[in-house]
């Protein structure tokens, strides 16, 4: 048994992130009791931040972790709370989904509930913190209106009129009770979001059920690609749960990896998949396989390298990502419309992010310069 009272708390979190993906020998069982008070507090906080509490609870139940009674109680209470939140979010999802469907919007559930219910052995293995919905570009404004009419407030106004339905990833809406709905037009911001064939996401449907209601989501192959986009492009250091999703779909649900790579190639996004798989295998410490070998040996194209920089460099920002998207917008007219939207945003958008048109212009111009100089 390995004591967790070591300074390497990240490896302890990584261990939890991998629970259930492979057999664990007796030597590998981890003991939480050996942690000092400070180490336990830190580890416990990280479990919550990385959304790994459910996996820790199952690790305790199946003997991959051992813990004091107090630690076990804390983890079980946290698990119960995170599952209560999942139920509240699913109720909100049912309300919003039904309103949008009644309005004739062809909506798809992304991430959270769909992944928990379709890609894990049991939905209680996967915690989530919001509702994610994908709608067709031409329904984006209508879907936004439905959310607003239901009392949700958009966190940041649209960059400029029509930007969302033509170029944007989506928008985040929050309710007075703190619940959040992310409304998506695409699955990523910036260049990689602009080369995704959005219609294919709607054509390949899978259904799942919540309380006798059937909901539509994207197929497993697209859920896998979306999980990779989220992990590789979402945050500089992705949450471990996002990496676990990738490993779960590849190792347990046996997503067709070759087909996924072909689709990624068509989207000019093989580098995204490679980065996501490499990160997952590295951080969760999984044994090498065909997918990880492919990911580690993948050599990104010049375009991919430049595009990735907008998401992974130290000075990454919303502005840098959208500015880097110029190269991915097809045609001169499209590029000009995109640049115009970035440099001449709406007053509401500016008041949400920048202090003035001039500050916005300078930031947009700097981001464009930076994007060009790295090409």
């Amino acid at each position: 048994m390995t004591s967790l009272g070591s300074p390497d708390r990240f490896s302890n979190l990584n261990f939890v992130a991998g629970v259930g993906l492979r057999e664990i020998s007796e030597d590998e069982i981890r003991d939480l009791e050996g942690m000092s008070e400070v180490e336990w507090t830190q580890f416990h906080r990280e479990l919550l931040l990385e959304r790994l509490v459910p996996l820790a609870a199952y690790a305790l139940e199946h003997g991959a972790l051992t813990a004091s009674e107090i630690q076990r109680t804390q983890i079980n209470q946290d698990h119960s709370r995170s599952m209560s939140l999942a139920l509240v979010l699913e109720r909100r999802l049912l309300e919003v989904y039904s309103e949008m469907s009644l309005a004739g919007i062809d909506v798809r559930v992304l991430k959270g509930s769909a992944v928990a219910r379709l890609d894990y052995p049991d939905p209680s293995w996967r915690a989530f913190g919001d509702v994610d919905l994908l709608v067709p570009a031409d329904s984006f404004a209508g879907a936004s209106e439905i959310l607003t009419a239901a009392g949700a407030r958009r966190r940041f106004p649209e960059v400029s009129k029509g930007f969302d339905s033509r170029f944007g990833k989506g928008a985040c809406f929050t309710y007075a009770d703190g619940l959040q709905v992310d409304l998506h037009r695409s699955i990523a911001e910036g260049p990689f979001g602009l080369t995704v064939d959005l219609s294919s996401l709607f054509n390949d449907v899978e259904e799942f059920e919540i309380g006798e209601v059937n909901l539509r989501t994207i197929s497993r192959q697209y859920r896998f690609l979306h999980a990779c986009f989220h992990a590789a492009l979402g945050d500089v250091s992705p949450r471990l749960v996002a990496l676990r999703d990738i490993a779960e779909m590849l190792l347990i649900k046996k997503v067709n990896f070759s087909d996924a790579v072909v689709t990624a190639r068509a989207w000019r996004a093989e580098a995204v998949i490679a980065r996501a798989i490499s990160l997952a295998w590295q951080r969760i410490d999984l044994p090498p396989n065909d997918a990880s070998a492919w990911a580690n040996s993948y050599s990104p194209s010049g375009y991919e390298e430049r595009a990735l920089r907008a998401y992974t460099s130290e000075n990454r920002s919303y502005a840098t990502q959208v500015a880097a998207g110029v190269t991915a917008v097809p045609g001169i007219t499209g590029k000009l419309a995109y640049m115009r939207a970035l440099l001449l945003p709406s007053r509401q958008h500016i008041s949400g992010r920048d202090s003035s048109y001039w500050a916005r212009f300078r930031r947009g111009a700097a981001a464009l310069r930076e994007s060009r100089s790295s090409q």
């Binding site: 698990h79 119960s80 599952m83 209560s84 999942a86 139920l87 049991d122 939905p123 209680s124 309380g211």
Partner: protein, 91 residues
Amino acid sequence: MAKASAVIKQSPEVISRAGPFGVVILAPRDLEPRLLEGSARLVWDLLSDWSTTQNIAESLAELFGADHGVVSRDVEMVINELIATEAVVVS
């Protein structure tokens, strides 16, 4: 209050998550999720098929070797609460 012989089952409209902590359920009339632990969780699990309060109480009294009267009162209390929030449906 439902009769002990009324045939009841979990409502298909309930959404739930089970784990080592017990089970949390959100029934149509619940404002917030409800945590069912210990014997309340066992009652809930037994309600995955059609049953009666009487049958459930008998099963649990036998399982725990407990007094049938005491178990009956506890089970009845849990089930009445579940019926009030429409977490269970009556045949």
